[in-house]
């Protein structure tokens, strides 16, 4: 590290010391919408006037840059480390997506190398002053999760949001994720039941494509807050594909009320903990 002792201490502390609340988004299962929820939660909190950052720790499948139209951005260095990329509504973002030479490059690393990068993302990024840092994770309970929790422990970890789809095979994996949270001493902010029902835009018939109610039942059964059901919404999928601000541009869309309600509950919890 460059500079004298004072600077060094400030640099070390500056990593996440200025972040008031860290929210981890987890799931036992892949493809349930963690990255989507991270993105929308960040946008909603930003629209509520908060300073927000996203740390994308899904090293094999970093989706956040694309979801915020930042896939062509690059990371820069400053004296206190890497500068996050500012995207969308002024959201600070760090992702391995920005460090790949080519977007199709596979990150085929074993644990130790992943752990080292995660640590760097936490300690060597100049996050600055943020109200919220949302952390997107890969599915499961692996090296990345263990390392992320360890690296974040010294800071203001508000807790974890668990995402599931309604059906039993997904809920089954999220039960295990809950065990991980309990073992890691993580506060569980709540469960989100994503892809919960689809309303046909032509005739308004509702079909429960991935069943219904599993997430809510799990929350009840395990005594954990239930944050809400988010329906399948083609406008949301389209918005993510194009890196648009869904919260700003689609307030009448079917997923909007649920997503903003989730953000509100996180805000309320953070205010109580402060």
């Amino acid at each position: 590290m460059r500079g004298g002792n004072m600077e060094e201490t400030a640099g070390e502390r500056a990593s996440l010391a200025g972040v008031r609340h860290i929210v981890l988004v987890l799931s036992g299962k892949g493809g349930v919408g963690k990255s989507t929820l991270c993105t929308e939660l960040a946008l909603a909190l930003r629209h509520a006037g908060k300073r927000v950052g996203i740390l994308d720790v899904d090293l094999c499948g970093p989706s956040i840059p694309r979801m915020l139209r930042a896939q062509d951005s690059a990371v820069h260095q400053c004296d206190s480390g890497w500068v996050p990329v500012f995207v969308g509504q002024d959201i600070a973002l760090m992702s391995i997506g920005f460090l790949l030479e080519r977007p199709d490059d596979a990150v085929v690393w074993r644990g130790p190398k992943k752990n080292a990068l995660i640590k760097q993302f936490v300690t060597d990024v100049a996050w600055g002053e943020l109200d919220f840092l949302i952390v997107d994770t890969p599915p499961g309970t692996s090296d990345e999760h263990i390392s992320t929790v360890e690296a974040l422990r010294p800071f203001q970890l508000l807790g974890a949001v668990l995402v599931t789809t309604p059906q039993a095979v997904s809920v089954g994996d999220v039960r295990r994720e809950l065990t991980f949270c309990r073992k890691a001493g993580l506060q569980i902010l709540g469960i989100v039941e994503n892809m919960s029902g689809f309303v046909c835009p032509h005739c308004s018939e509702c079909t429960n494509i991935f069943s219904k109610g599993g997430g809510e039942e799990l929350a009840k059964h395990t005594g954990v807050p239930f944050l809400g059901c988010v329906p399948l919404d083609p406008q949301l999928s389209q918005s993510l594909e194009e890196g648009r601000d869904f919260i700003q541009e689609f307030p009448k869309s079917s997923a909007f009320p649920a997503l903003t309600h989730i953000a509100q509950q996180i805000l309320d919890t953070s205010q109580r903990s402060s």
């Binding site: 085929v108 309970t141 689809f198 069943s211």
Partner: protein, 216 residues
């Protein structure tokens, strides 16, 4: 597969797979967990150890096809399974995606991974490809193929598109109940898709098997 709560038995010849039917056996970490709440919170080396055991210590007997389900990504598990199976013969990989770019961008990495480790690619399956409303029969693209879907990607990367499977609420239900979707919904368009895909996979494997026998 309707095997929740089953346990693995040991015999002189190793671990015994759990049988769904006489000709369908399963081995899974799920059988080694004593409660549905148990989490496998392991780092790489321990996972690799279990994968090795699954391959070395399970008495599979005579099997025509061994299907290996993997977690998403390109991690320890993937590296290990390819390494450990390299002595045996992997026919190839079937790669699953959904139609939207957010999924395809990860699948391109997976395809690159396969090339890197010299794993042949049998083809790609586009899952959750459209939904036909049961009431009005109009189709919705819930996961829109904004960049051309798997079809365009396969063209660009010279990989076979094995087929597209539409969304069908019965699939999730059957899986949740541990029933065979193909048996429960024989008339579903998804069933037709699955069967076509399976046939193409069989043809690929048989064709390559014959080629190898010729070489030998």
């Amino acid at each position: 597969m309707g095997l929740e709560g089953e346990q693995v038995h040991q015999s002189g010849s190793g671990w015994s797979p759990v049988y769904v039917e006489e000709n369908l056996g399963v081995m899974s970490a799920g059988f080694l967990l004593s409660s549905p709440d148990d989490a496998v919170i392991w780092r790489g080396p321990k996972k690799n150890g279990l994968i090795k055991q699954f391959l070395r210590d399970v008495d599979w007997g005579e099997v025509d096809y061994l299907i290996v389900d993997t977690p998403p990504g390109t991690s320890d598990e993937h590296l290990s399974i390819v390494q450990y199976l390299s002595a045996a013969h992997i026919d190839g990989a079937v790669i699953i995606t959904t139609p939207q770019e957010v999924s395809l961008q990860d699948v391109r990495k997976e395809i690159n991974f396969c090339h890197k480790v010299k794993l042949p690619i049998i083809g790609v399956v586009e899952n959750m490809s459209g939904f036909v409303c049961p009431k009005c029969k109009n189709e919705s693209q819930i996961f829109p193929p904004t960049t051309g879907g798997a079809e365009k990607m396969c063209q660009n990367l010279s990989v076979s598109l094995l087929g597209k499977v539409p969304l069908d609420p019965q699939i999730g239900k059957s899986c949740d109940r541990g029933q065979s979707f193909l048996a429960e919904a024989p008339e579903s368009p998804a069933t037709l898709s699955y069967r076509n895909i399976i046939q193409r996979i069989q043809e690929y494997c048989e064709h390559h098997h014959l080629q190898e026998e010729k070489i030998m």
